[in-house]
Structure formats: structure tokens, C-alpha cells
């Protein structure tokens, strides 16, 4: 088991003929992902790396089951492409495109809620269940992906795409494999947040602990803390919060749009305090994470 994506997950790629999309589609195929089709309007009938290209999502869903779609269309077209996938009944959308205007994001998420689809991203690198499949560019080429990600009991969720791989690599180096790793997306508003995905991790028999990479800005960490405080967590959670220094420079944009520091409540220090109060284990140093996970699993 894993969450969101597994071996049998059948995937399509919207915007498959774009340069980046061709590159990550190759990596997905090499890793063993079941990529059943791609969509680029006006390019139907061609193929990319042997994957048939269609003009619409519906042309694929009429023929076969589609479990997930990776959206890599340019930002101005994301809303339309996402609506198309949702209305065609695709249950999971992974939006890798960056710089999607917030109104479009909110509209996509609202329609997804109404229709019962789940969205990861935008501005995500994707989702991987190591040894099974990966959806999106996460991990890069298959060979590199296998170096950083190995199967195991730790669920990984990160607000930073690059740090998703880094975190998995750190765990792997210390003998801890991952059940699933999710790059949440670096935007202020994203589909799958810590608190929303928590129940899925808890229901997954393979996941025994969670590791989260957090950043300053936004209420997502506080929302998780509140949920854990109210309902408890059947899994130990270890969090690392990067960007303590940004508190010294309010108003300056560091890294993701999501880490613009606006007030005391969303600084790294304040998040650490709130999460600790809720019983979440907060790592002071990045490299101390594996030891904390092992201790929580009773191995340390």
C-alpha cells in the first residue's frame, strides 16, 4: 500500500508535447509508471515516446480508466485543462505548472471539491510511491530517483519540491524508506495540505511515521497542529521548519510565494512552538530528522 498513487495507477499527461513534459514523461515511463495517454489540443493522433496523444481528456476516458492526470500546460491554460480533467471524471490532478494566478487555482479547487476530484499542487514536482510509480517530475531521471527514494514506512510531505527529494535522500541514507512522498506545491493556496492528507496517511497500513518539510508563511502548519491537537494522530509526526532567518527581514520575498512573511503568527519560530504544543516532534537541525523518526518508531 501507499497513498494517492500505486503500481496500477493509470496516468495521463496534459500538455505532453511540451519540452518539460516530454522529459518527465520519459522519466515516469523509465520508472515504470503506466502512462496511457497524453493530451495536447490539435496534436491528436501523434505520439510522444510511444504514448498516444489525444485532443481531449474525454477521448481517453471514453476508452479506458484514468486514475490521475499530470498537468503541465502553460499557466494561462491551467484552469481550462483542470476543468476538463475534472469534468471527465479524473479523480486525481497533479498540477506541476508554476505561476498560476490565484483566482484560477481557487476556481479549480472549488470545482474539484464539487465533483469529488483531488488536486495536488499547483507548482508541485509530483507524487511518488517508491518502487511502484511516480507521477510528475519528482526525483528526476529514473536512475536518480532510485538513488534518492526507496520503499519503506515513512510518509513524506514537503512544501518545497527540491527538498522532497533531499528529505527522501536523507531518510534513505539512514536506512529509512518511504511509503509515498508528496511535493505539495510552493504556492500560497494548494490542493493537498498537511491537514487534509493526514487521514490518508493514517489509513495506510504501510505508513508508520510522517516527516514534513515546512516553511514560513501561511496557516497550513497551524491548521495541522490544530487538527492533531483536537483529534490526535495515530502516527508520529516529525516536522522540520526552514527559513527561521526570514523573520529578520519582513516583507522580503524569499523562495516561494508561500514564504512571504506577514506576521508573527506565521514565522518559523511561531510554527515550531504551535506544532510542539500539539505533540508534533520538531527537528532543530535538518540532519537530526532520521534519528527522531527512528526514536518515534521505537528503533532508536
Amino acid at each position: 500500500m501507499a497513498i494517492l498513487v500505486e503500481e496500477s495507477t493509470s496516468v495521463i499527461v496534459q500538455g505532453i508535447t511540451g519540452r518539460e513534459a516530454v522529459s518527465f514523461t520519459r522519466d515516469m515511463l523509465d520508472y515504470g509508471a503506466k502512462v496511457v495517454g497524453g493530451v495536447t489540443p490539435g496534436r491528436g493522433g501523434r505520439d510522444v515516446l510511444g504514448v498516444p496523444v489525444y485532443d481531449s481528456v474525454r477521448q481517453i476516458t471514453e476508452k479506458e480508466r484514468v486514475d490521475a492526470s499530470v498537468l503541465a500546460v502553460p499557466a494561462p491554460f491551467v484552469r481550462d485543462a483542470a476543468f476538463e480533467a475534472i469534468e471527465a471524471g479524473v479523480p486525481l490532478l497533479v498540477i506541476v505548472t508554476e505561476r498560476v494566478p490565484r483566482r484560477d487555482v481557487v476556481q479549480v479547487l472549488e470545482l474539484a471539491r464539487l465533483r469529488g476530484s483531488r488536486v495536488i499542487g499547483p507548482n508541485t514536482m509530483g507524487v511518488i510511491s517508491p518502487g511502484k510509480t511516480k507521477v510528475g517530475s519528482i526525483g528526476g531521471p529514473a536512475e536518480d530517483t532510485r538513488k534518492a527514494f526507496v520503499p519503506g514506512p515513512v510518509g513524506v510531505m514537503s512544501r518545497s519540491g527540491g527538498m522532497t527529494t533531499e528529505l527522501a535522500n536523507l531518510l534513505t541514507q539512514n536506512g529509512l524508506g518511504q511509503s509515498t512522498a508528496i511535493s505539495m506545491g510552493g504556492d500560497p493556496i494548494v490542493g493537498g495540505t498537511f491537514a487534509e492528507v493526514l487521514p490518508m496517511w493514517q489509513e495506510d497500513p504501510e505508513t508508520k511515521a510522517l516527516v514534513l518539510f515546512c516553511e514560513p508563511g501561511g496557516p497550513l502548519e497551524a491548521a495541522l497542529a490544530k487538527k492533531v491537537q483536537c483529534k490526535g494522530s495515530s502516527l508520529p509526526i516529525v516536522a522540520f521548519i526552514a527559513g527561521h532567518f526570514t523573520a529578520d527581514m519582513p516583507g522580503v520575498r524569499f523562495g516561494h510565494a508561500g514564504s512571504i512573511v506577514e506576521g508573527k503568527a506565521d514565522t518559523a519560530a511561531e510554527k515550531a512552538r504551535i506544532m510542539r504544543e500539539a505533540g508534533i516532534i520538531v527537528a532543530d537541525d535538518f540532519s537530526e530528522i532520521p534519528a527522531l523518526v527512528k526514536r518515534a518508531l521505537g528503533e532508536g
Binding site: 522529459s23 494561462p76 505561476r99 494566478p101 490565484r102 483566482r103 481557487v106 476556481q107 479547487l109 472549488e110 470545482l111 471539491r113 464539487l114 517530475s137 528526476g140 531521471p141 536518480d144 538513488k147 534518492a148 514537503s158 512544501r159 518545497s160 519540491g161 527540491g162 527538498m163 527529494t165 533531499e166 535522500n169 536523507l170 541514507q173 510552493g186 500560497p188 493556496i189 495540505t193 518539510f213 516553511e215 501561511g218 496557516p219 497550513l220 491548521a223 526552514a242 527559513g243 527561521h244 532567518f245 526570514t246 527581514m249 519582513p250 516583507g251 522580503v252 520575498r253 524569499f254 523562495g255 516561494h256 510565494a257 514564504s259 518559523a268 532543530d284 537541525d285 535538518f286 540532519s287
Partner: protein, 401 residues
């Protein structure tokens, strides 16, 4: 992109929300003339992109043309939190009976727009939320369904407001929300919206922000308002930051040069978003003093990385550089290594003593490591974590002194 008050008010007027009959002045003379036109007593407001104008003396009153001239002179010369005003907005002083707060923004958790109203306007809304929560009403509304007035009526009515007051406030909040959605705003606040002695509802001050990613598709609005998106950063860029931005835009390959200057001795070449945050914290935690924060990513060219390295080394007080990235998928380690080494050599510095640490695991790492070995540079592979690499970089600096 934050709007100046005069731009934001012009926006409100276009949405059908009443604003004072004001005039923008760029000189003390213009301000005196404007004040005579709008009438006395007049209010003169510094047009500057920061809060705290009132406390700083950026909002003042005048009873005569002579006083308006003198006051405008003072306001135009007054920096507010490090920012220069672009003009003075001159308005008639309003006879206020009641003040309200109206706001629309995105609710990150509900993932919907949210309308907020309070009958305790004029002060910091967060203070009201803390001390008098019963005087604030919030309501999420759909971003998809056609916008109608009822959600805003509900929001206003739940404060116990009825009669003509309900109708007027519902209309204003609805128009604010409609403008918010149509024009890709991320924040639209009127504080206060004032009910005047004559019964009119007028927006006396406001704060409006446009989504940066939507500036392109809101060009028509920006043109109509005469608003130029440039020059609005929270802090004006330093010359070094401007030169780094030039390096970054010198070719289209990758990112190398998004830089924020600090006062330390250790130059940082780090990336991308989350990894930079982690590396910077780790350097400080282990007693290092960063000279800069930066982000490299994608697949920058050798020359771009070399120029960035030279630029950072040219900063007075910079003794060393540390090169730290997360495990990379699409950045070629060897190209970054060549760029940093080249930058050191061209600055007349020995790479082995100038590069405190090089830690980038990923594509083409063997080629990169071979080059670094050749130059005697301390490098780390994926078995050494980001913070450990930072610690060792700082360790190597202190042991040699």
C-alpha cells in the same frame, strides 16, 4: 503588486464605490492649489507604499492654502519606513458619523474568497478580531458561481445591521468582492468606509493588492489607472542585487543571481527555494555570517555561475563562498562546479581556499567532483546533508584562522 492609495481609490470609483473628491499633487505648490479647490479643512496624505503613515506624520490637516503648502513640503520630504512618497493626496476633511471595515481576500484554508466586515472601522482589524470578535463578521463565497448580493447581505446582517445601513453596506461589499474577483486581486480592504453626516458612505482609505502572476492579464486595468508595476519592492534593491539580477538575465539558461544582500563574510551560492532557506538557517546556526541569500536552480550556464561568483567575491568583506544545493534532478553539477571555479580564478583567488564547501549531489556529479578534486576544493556528496555541509564549511573557515 500593491497600489498607491490614489490608484486604489480610482479602482474603487470604477467599481461604483464612492470616494472623496481628492487630487494628487506632486509639489507643495500643486498641493496648496488642490487644497483650495477641494476646500478647507483639507487632509493631506503621503502616497507611500507602507503602513504607519499616520504615526510617522504622513497624514496631516490644513486650514489654509499657506498651511497646505507648508504641510505638503514636509510630507513630500518624509520617508516612511524607508520609502519615499510619490506625491500627496489632497482631500476635503470628512464629517464622519460611523466607520466600518470592509475586506475581501483569499481564505487559504477554506480555499475560497472571503468577505469580512466590521462596524469598528478605522483601527487595526486584527486588534478588533482579538478584542471584540463579536464586531467582525466573515463569510466565504463561491469563486465559481455567478456573484449575487445575498452572501454579503448575510455577512453584514450578522452584525445586527438592518435598514438603509444594511442596503448600503451590502452594496459596497458586493462591489468590492466583484472587483476583487474580476481583477485578480489578492487583497481589497477599505478601512474605513465612513458614513458621513449627510448620510453618504465614502471610502476614506484603502489597501489593494493585485496578484503578481496576473499583472499581464490585468494590463487594461493598470493602463486605465495609470499604474506602473515597477519600483514597488518592499525594500529598494541594493546595487549588488541589481547587478546579480543582470547576471541572471544575461542568458535564459537556469537561475543564478536572485540575490538578497546581507552583511556577512561568507558568500552563499545556494538553491532553490526550500534548500536555500535550510542552508541559510544552517549557516547562521553554526555561527556563520552570510553575505547574501541567493537561489540558483534549473540548469544555469558556466558563465552565469562564474559571473555570480565573481560578483559575490567582489563584495567587501567576503572571504569565502559556500556552494550548497539539494539533491538536484535537472541541474548539472559539473557545470556549476566549473562556473564557481572559473569565478574564483578570474577573481584572482585560489579555489581551494576560497570555496569553503561544495555540496551538490545529482546529475553529472562525478565530472563535477573530479574537477573540484583537481583544484583541491572540499566537496561533499549526497551522504552529507545540507546542514552538515554548512557546518563543515564554517568549521574549515575557523580552523584556518
Amino acid at each position: 503588486m500593491r497600489f498607491y492609495e490614489f490608484e486604489a481609490k480610482a479602482f474603487l470609483a470604477r467599481q461604483g464605490i464612492a470616494i472623496p473628491q481628492g487630487r494628487l499633487a506632486h509639489t507643495a505648490g500643486e498641493a496648496a492649489e488642490a487644497a483650495s479647490t477641494v476646500g478647507f479643512p483639507a487632509v493631506l496624505k503621503s502616497q507611500v507604499l507602507s503602513g504607519g503613515r499616520m504615526k510617522a506624520g504622513g497624514i496631516r490637516f490644513a486650514e489654509s492654502a499657506a498651511e497646505a503648502r507648508e504641510t505638503a513640503e514636509a510630507i513630500l520630504g518624509l520617508e516612511v519606513r524607508g520609502r519615499q512618497p510619490v506625491g500627496v493626496l489632497v482631500e476635503p476633511r470628512a464629517a464622519v458619523v460611523q466607520e466600518y471595515y470592509l475586506g475581501v481576500t483569499y481564505d487559504t484554508l477554506a480555499k475560497l474568497p472571503v468577505a469580512i466586515i466590521s462596524d469598528r472601522g478605522g483601527i487595526d482589524i486584527e486588534e478588533v478580531a482579538e478584542k471584540e470578535p463579536e464586531h467582525i463578521s466573515r463569510r466565504n463565497f463561491s469563486s465559481l458561481l455567478p456573484l449575487t448580493e445575498f452572501p454579503f447581505k448575510d455577512c453584514v446582517a450578522s452584525l445586527g445591521i438592518s435598514g438603509g445601513e444594511l442596503t448600503a453596506l451590502t452594496g459596497a461589499l458586493f462591489r468590492l468582492a466583484r472587483g476583487f474577483l474580476e481583477h485578480d486581486l489578492t487583497l481589497a480592504e477599505i478601512n474605513p468606509l465612513a458614513r458621513l453626516e449627510d448620510g453618504a458612505y465614502v471610502a476614506l482609505d484603502c489597501h489593494i493588492e493585485l496578484e503578481d502572476e496576473a499583472v499581464g492579464r490585468q494590463k487594461a486595468l493598470l493602463e486605465a489607472l495609470g499604474a506602473n508595476p515597477g519600483g514597488r519592492a518592499a525594500r529598494p534593491p541594493t546595487p549588488l542585487e541589481l547587478r546579480a539580477a543582470e547576471v541572471d538575465s544575461s542568458d535564459h539558461r537556469g537561475v543564478a543571481g536572485r540575490l538578497v544582500e546581507f552583511d556577512g563574510s561568507l558568500g552563499l551560492i545556494i538553491g532553490g527555494g526550500g534548500a536555500s532557506l535550510t542552508a541559510f538557517d544552517a549557516v547562521r546556526r553554526h555561527g556563520g555570517k552570510p553575505a547574501d541569500y541567493c537561489e540558483i536552480g534549473g540548469n544555469p550556464s558556466v558563465s552565469k555561475v562564474a559571473e555570480l561568483t565573481k560578483l559575490i567575491l567582489s563584495k567587501p568583506g567576503v572571504e569565502r563562498v559556500a556552494v550548497i544545493m539539494n539533491v538536484v534532478n535537472n541541474t548539472r553539477v559539473d557545470l556549476v562546479a566549473r562556473g564557481v571555479v572559473k569565478g574564483c580564478v578570474e577573481s584572482g583567488r585560489d579555489p581551494s581556499t576560497t570555496i569553503a564547501a561544495f555540496r551538490i549531489p545529482g546529475a553529472w556529479e562525478e565530472e563535477g567532483f573530479r574537477l573540484l578534486r583537481h583544484y583541491g576544493v572540499q566537496y561533499f556528496d549526497r551522504t552529507v546533508s545540507i546542514d552538515e555541509a554548512a557546518r563543515r564549511a564554517i568549521g574549515s573557515m575557523s580552523t584556518e584562522r
